[in-house]
């Protein structure tokens, strides 16, 4: 409760504002007492208070569910995810290149793809990748780097079940 608000502040408040601040616990004790007297004296005020109660009860869960991450921050996160994906891809492709010495073309394509997501040079050592060997066709001629990238991207972007459970628990 805000104990410091000056009484002069409430001179131009309408009934809706009184109801709202009372329900949010933002009135001083003296203001609360004055408003509670009005509730008892006026069924109209009582009804308006109930209406505002319903409004607050309806809004609260919806507001809590609205994403409120700043757009800039969200973009930074997305950019980081994309760079991580790209760096992972580069690590995979580079590993394949060292192994087989025949993938210079794929490596060039992958590096170009990486650089579209960041102005900074991306080093394959920046990101630790647990590579699913089954994704790399070591016997075939073609190294499907885009398929690997998408697979790794999914694992980076999508939260695990444990993460989701933790987030759900924290939100609850």
């Amino acid at each position: 409760m805000n104990e410091t608000r000056n009484h002069a502040d409430d001179l131009d408040w309408d009934d809706a504002q009184w109801c709202q601040l009372y329900l949010l616990g933002e009135l001083s004790p003296e203001q609360s007492e004055r408003f509670e007297r009005r509730i008892g004296e006026s069924p109209e005020i009582a009804e308006q208070l109930l209406s505002h109660s319903d409004l607050l009860l309806a809004i609260a869960p919806e507001i809590a569910g609205v994403s409120h991450r700043p757009i800039a921050a969200r973009n930074r996160t997305q950019t980081f995810a994309m760079v991580a994906i790209a760096a992972s891809l580069m690590a995979v492709v580079t590993a394949g290149w060292y192994q087989r010495q025949r993938r210079s073309e794929e490596l060039l394509i992958a590096r170009a793809w990486v650089e579209t997501f960041s102005d900074d040079p991306v080093d394959s050592r920046d990101v630790v990748v647990t590579l699913d060997e089954s994704l790399v066709d070591t016997d075939g001629e073609h190294f499907d780097w885009m398929f690997v990238a998408v697979s790794i991207g999914d694992s980076l972007v999508q939260p695990t079940t444990d993460q989701r459970e933790r987030e759900s628990f924290n939100e609850g």
Partner: protein, 195 residues
């Protein structure tokens, strides 16, 4: 009013409490504080709906019991609002019992009729959808204030500081935001009354 006895306080000899139990105690203590802070207002609110002081006392006690039983899921910011809604429901239940006889309604909770009615659930869902859309369409500054107050539970002085705006501006934005949202919940009202 005679309040029900509080749950047993833990003693040092009791087994180690689980985290859940500790959390239970936290929300109960906070909710009781919210109840205490609006008890006078609840009493006056109920007095506008019930003629007899003894009925007001009974309803107030029912509100307290409902809070103890069902209050855990209520967000901190809307606890006072929830108490007034529950008080209204209990006063309505009081009159229904008088009208149709107490026996038929003894086992029905004050909210049961809403939960059991598919049409009411459908309307509630539609209202929530409309409300959610309306929140998304609010101007950014309105949405910021309402989110900071309701989701982050900052008071208006803190919101004014955070957004670097005068306190009166924060209050005005909140009022205008809620006016718009209120219209979504009350479509029968005059929508031509612009902000």
């Amino acid at each position: 009013m005679t309040r029900p006895t509080t749950p047993e306080e833990p003693t040092p000899n009791q087994p180690t409490q689980s985290l859940k139990k500790i959390n239970d105690d936290d929300w109960r203590a906070d909710f009781r504080e919210a109840f205490r802070s609006v008890e006078s207002g609840l009493r006056r609110f109920l007095s506008t709906r019930l003629a007899q002081p003894s009925d007001v006392d009974d309803c107030l006690q029912s509100v307290f019991l409902t809070m103890e039983q069902d209050g855990q899921s209520v967000a901190a910011v809307s606890r006072r609002a929830w108490l007034f809604r529950v008080a209204a429901n209990h006063s309505a239940l009081h009159w229904r019992r008088k009208a149709v006889g107490e026996k038929a309604l003894t086992k029905r909770s004050s909210t049961e009729h809403i939960e059991d009615d598919p049409a009411a659930r459908m309307i509630e869902t539609e209202t929530k959808d409309r409300l959610r859309a309306c929140i998304e369409q609010l101007p950014g500054n309105y949405r910021d204030v309402i989110r900071l107050r309701i989701d982050e539970n900052l008071n208006f002085e803190q919101i004014a500081d955070r957004l670097d705006i005068p306190l009166g501006t924060a209050l005005t934005w909140m009022r205008r935001a809620t006016q718009r949202l209120r219209r979504e919940l009350e479509p029968e009202q005059d929508h031509d009354n612009k902000d």
